[in-house]
Subunit: 330 residues, 2 copies
């Protein structure tokens, strides 16, 4: 009897929450700003100036925008990014798009906030190679910056932390939204091609993409070893393991968001897959390297049309253009 009641109740619950076509759709929420770095238009504008200012680097030649170029999907279009001295680094420059929604930053999640992240490349010898004290001296000599920092953060506020806060505030403005996918779910069923709709159903079903790529910006904010082959100057890259020292994390990298992903080729943490087609083929064959591979990664058995449909769906995640008017630097 107890089991019968259970079964009936379970059946009722099941039918009331029955899977509907719409159940997996999540729109991009309003951006949240941290309590200790509240948004203001002036702060965002200051951050935009800093973002585009090559004087943030030791060479005065590399800006945030050099490697996170709005014209190239807020990445740099290279397999692995380039740093100070024009030397190739070990990982692909991740896009800034929707990074304000990520729980952790960097491919290995070693930065907990965009504020933390923004400071990293400025000071890293292999990236922008800037001495923080030199930077502060340089910026303090530019009256337009002093004036703006004072207005945004108060007197004597030109510090590396406030530089990072302003840049993070600008980065939180970089959001992909109103994609064909969003329009489709807003009721415009012609916004997505039938191929893209098929791709969507594969994405959330047979192709298992949504096991990791889920939520409003298509990431579980987790780390997985998906079997990417080594490439570039870093022969062995242990990824998340460097942070956690847990064997399970060896070769695991952060699940990237997928909105506007068509804009920021090539793909994978080390840029080994040139196109979205290549990425789908990679997953279809169950990855390349089997050592410490996540059990989530298995061959998918997709046919040519299914692969094409998945690519069409990914393209349907392209948000409306993010318009950037270049700032006049002070």
């Amino acid at each position: 009897m107890r089991y019968l009641i259970f079964a009936v109740v379970f059946g009722l619950v099941l039918s009331s929450t029955a899977w509907t076509e719409q159940s997996f759709y999540e729109p991009v929420p309003k951006m949240k700003h941290p309590a200790d770095n509240k948004w203001s238009k002036e702060k965002e504008e200051l951050g935009k100036m800093l973002y585009f200012d090559p004087r943030l680097s030791g060479s005065n030649w590399i800006s945030c925008a050099t490697c996170h170029n709005p014209g190239l999907g807020w990445g740099d279009g290279l397999p692995r990014t380039i740093g100070d001295g024009q030397k190739e680094l070990g990982r692909h420059a991740p896009t800034v798009i929707n990074s304000g929604y990520f729980a952790l930053q960097m491919w290995d999640g070693r930065k907990k906030s965009l504020e933390d992240q923004a400071k990293g490349p400025i000071g890293a010898a292999a990236e922008m190679n800037q001495d923080y004290n030199d930077l502060l001296k340089e910026l303090k000599a530019i009256p337009g910056y002093v004036k703006r920092f004072t207005s945004v953060f108060g007197e004597n506020s030109l510090t590396i932390d406030n530089i990072a806060k302003a840049i993070a505030t600008f980065e939180r403005s970089v959001v992909s939204k109103n994609s064909p996918y969003d329009k489709y779910w807003a009721g415009n069923k012609s916004a997505m091609s039938s191929s893209a709709v098929n791709g969507m159903n594969l994405f959330f079903g047979k192709a298992k993409c949504s096991i990791c790529h889920n939520g409003p910006v298509f990431t579980d904010s987790g780390f997985h070893n998906i079997g990417v082959k080594a490439a570039g100057p870093s022969k062995v890259d242990l990824g998340r393991y460097n942070e956690t020292k847990v064997d399970f994390d060896k070769g695991a990298f952060k699940t990237p968001g997928l909105r506007s992903i068509a804009q920021s080729a090539p793909y994978m943490h080390n840029g080994t897959e040139a196109t979205l087609e290549d990425v789908i083929a990679f997953y279809d064959r169950g990855g390349d390297v089997k050592e410490n591979l996540s059990p989530l990664i298995t061959p998918l058995g997709l046919n040519a049309e299914e692969k094409k449909d998945l690519v069409e769906f990914l393209k349907a995640l392209d948000g409306e253009p993010i318009k950037v008017i270049l700032p006049d630097l002070p």
Copy 2:
């Protein structure tokens, strides 16, 4: 008698063309486009994409905008610019502003048109270090570019010459206008401070600036040895002489335009003067190097206030902001 007639006639001519306050003012004319590279909005937009696209360089990391950065007065803010391999070069990156009005391009005038100029840095090993054939192969693999070239220049038109034509067309849109100086002469006498007005009178008078810096964009399109000291990796830079092999041109460099000049510090062909104040002090002392010095350069005997006034006038040549919306690259 003959001399008397001459004196009377000369006097009449002189009085009829008497120097009026306004006689030296010239507004910026409408930009002219060459007959073999007519303007269209689509061509300008294509040129803007190419201008901001780092894939034009061999490293895929350096775009025209890296060294001619709209945010830094369409220069790079460095004394001497940086090229492939992040190596310092011998000369200062000249601003793109108003370059469409120049009779010759480059500090030594070795390029006769913006079209010619645009090709130079792309292919130069020390600058963007790109092989033209590789570039064409790369761009032909980007459907968005092929489509745009076809639309602008016709079928199979993705050539280095057409790349240059598009970039030159974009560059001709980069014009400094509606400065306080222009507003002053349009009748708004409060557009310039009295210090700037004094500076203007010094500029066209006692300080002799307008001997070379004249015309609508403040250049005679000539080459002069003004006595700039050597700096940077090029110990000896013969400038215009390299082109003409005329002794007179040893150490002579092109007279830069002055509109919006406050935006593109530092100054001189090798960036040896950091600020406008430094430039005025340089001319006041009659230059630094006396060898082959132009006879136009002599000490000026300006007092502190006159120097300040001249700087104020140069700042009054700042045009209205040139708004650039970053292109989404195909």
